[in-house]
């Protein structure tokens, strides 16, 4: 290789992005070519200087607080849209919306469930965003289930549903509805599914479903356990998983 070619490969080499064969060639060349060796030295020194130079800016705490406050405010607005918005809508739309909302309120969402839906979806989003999907990453139900013992005062059902197309990814402790809950994580294709499980005093109840912030939520009660599933997976397949969990 010529010096010019070597110089073109110097950065990928320093960044460890160069393949082994060319890395060796480059090292051989540098051994015999002081000029290229010098370039390498300079580039490496530059990297070290930047790396050690603590050039990272830290976000001021005041900014953290104000962004947090803005997010809380945004969340609040979404939950209770400002009244002024209604004035812009034509009457029939308001009436229809109100009627629909009332129906939904009566049929679907008891106040508690509305809040829980939000908590469940937030728990789901948190697990994806904070890069904290699992505490115990394992595709083995016999690893995940015992892991919860001692951490929770109940034992959640953990099933291997690989054959049905739902891969067990692991388990995690989460906190919902004012108590610690088991989060069992499954994956179907690219979709992550959080199954939140905790004991409840309610009697058995069939599946219900809702969409919240673009996520599908399915929940039901079976044998004294509340199950809440959240995912961006389509509702039909999410219900399928719900069925498999209590099969």
């Amino acid at each position: 290789m010529s010096c010019k070619e070597i110089q073109g490969l110097m950065d990928p080499y320093i960044d460890r992005e160069l393949d082994l064969v060319r890395s060796i060639e480059l090292e051989r060349h540098m051994h015999d070519c002081p000029s290229c060796a010098r370039l390498h030295e300079d580039r490496a020194a530059l990297r070290t200087a930047i790396g050690a130079g603590s050039l990272r800016y830290r976000a001021p705490d005041t900014l953290k607080k104000s962004v947090q406050a803005a997010l809380v405010e945004r969340d609040r607005q979404e939950r209770a849209p400002g009244r002024w918005r209604w004035f812009r809508l034509p009457g029939p739309v308001i009436a229809a919306t109100a009627a629909a909302a009332l129906l939904i309120a009566i049929w679907w969402v008891r106040p508690v469930e509305g809040a829980l839906q939000r908590e469940v979806v937030e728990g789901h989003i948190r697990s994806l965003m904070a890069n904290h999907l699992t505490d115990v990453p394992s595709t083995d139900q016999h690893t995940v289930k015992p892991w919860f013992a001692g951490k929770l005062d109940f034992s959640p059902t953990v099933k291997d549903l690989t054959a049905e197309g739902f891969t067990l990814v692991g388990g995690r402790l989460d906190y919902l509805d004012n108590h610690a809950v088991a989060a069992i994580v499954y994956q179907r294709r690219q979709h992550v599914i959080n199954v939140f499980v905790w004991p409840t005093s309610e009697g058995d109840r069939g599946e219900r479903a809702a969409v919240r912030q673009g996520y599908n939520v399915v929940w039901f009660v079976r044998s004294g356990m509340a199950y809440w599933l959240a995912s961006d997976l389509n509702p039909a397949e999410l219900r399928q998983l719900a069925g498999l969990l209590i099969r």
């Binding site: 110097m10 950065d11 960044d15 000029s35 930047i50 830290r58 976000a59 001021p60 965003m129 690219q190």
Partner: protein, 160 residues
């Protein structure tokens, strides 16, 4: 909040102003949470970086940052080929000198350097954040380092 310092760091380097970085980060996080549906798994940090980046670029364009308009890969590279590495005596650069030199670079160069050197992203990850082809990331990074080195260099023998 996830990756807050990293998001701030990128915004701070792209805007070169503490005040504007504040605005960029605030706007980016609101957008991130509003458009969370746009996030389809993967590493949330890259996704957040790309939102911060787009927010900053919109701002840079709006605020008449000429560096963006005038940026041209060709214009920024050929002269440097004439330089012999031996002419470049890397000055012992302290933090402030480095900071100043880095700030003098066009936004496109600052961006790849910040993502690579400070955030330690791999080429593939930088390509994902910036939406640039891998080859462009590589050559841009190479040119950025070359420019930075030139800014930090003094003619041999004049080192104090």
């Amino acid at each position: 909040m996830p990756h807050f310092d990293a998001a701030y760091n990128l915004a701070r380097w792209l805007t070169r102003s503490a005040e504007d970085a504040d605005d960029m980060v605030q706007e980016s996080y609101l957008r991130a949470f509003t458009f969370f549906d746009g996030f389809r798994g993967g590493d949330a940090r890259w996704w957040l970086f790309s939102i911060v980046r787009n927010t900053c670029y919109t701002w840079l364009r709006k605020n008449g940052a000429q560096e963006l308009m005038e940026f041209d890969e060709a214009q920024h590279s050929p002269a440097s080929n004439a330089l012999n590495p031996e002419d470049l005596q890397l000055r012992r650069a302290d933090r402030e000198t480095l900071r100043e030199a880095l700030e003098k670079l066009p936004a496109e160069f600052r961006e790849v350097l910040v993502l690579r050197e400070i955030e330690d992203l791999a080429y593939k990850e930088i390509a994902e954040v910036t939406g640039l082809p891998l080859g462009t990331v590589m050559s841009r990074l190479s040119r950025a380092r070359r420019r930075l080195q030139e800014l930090l260099a003094v003619p041999a023998g004049q080192e104090s």
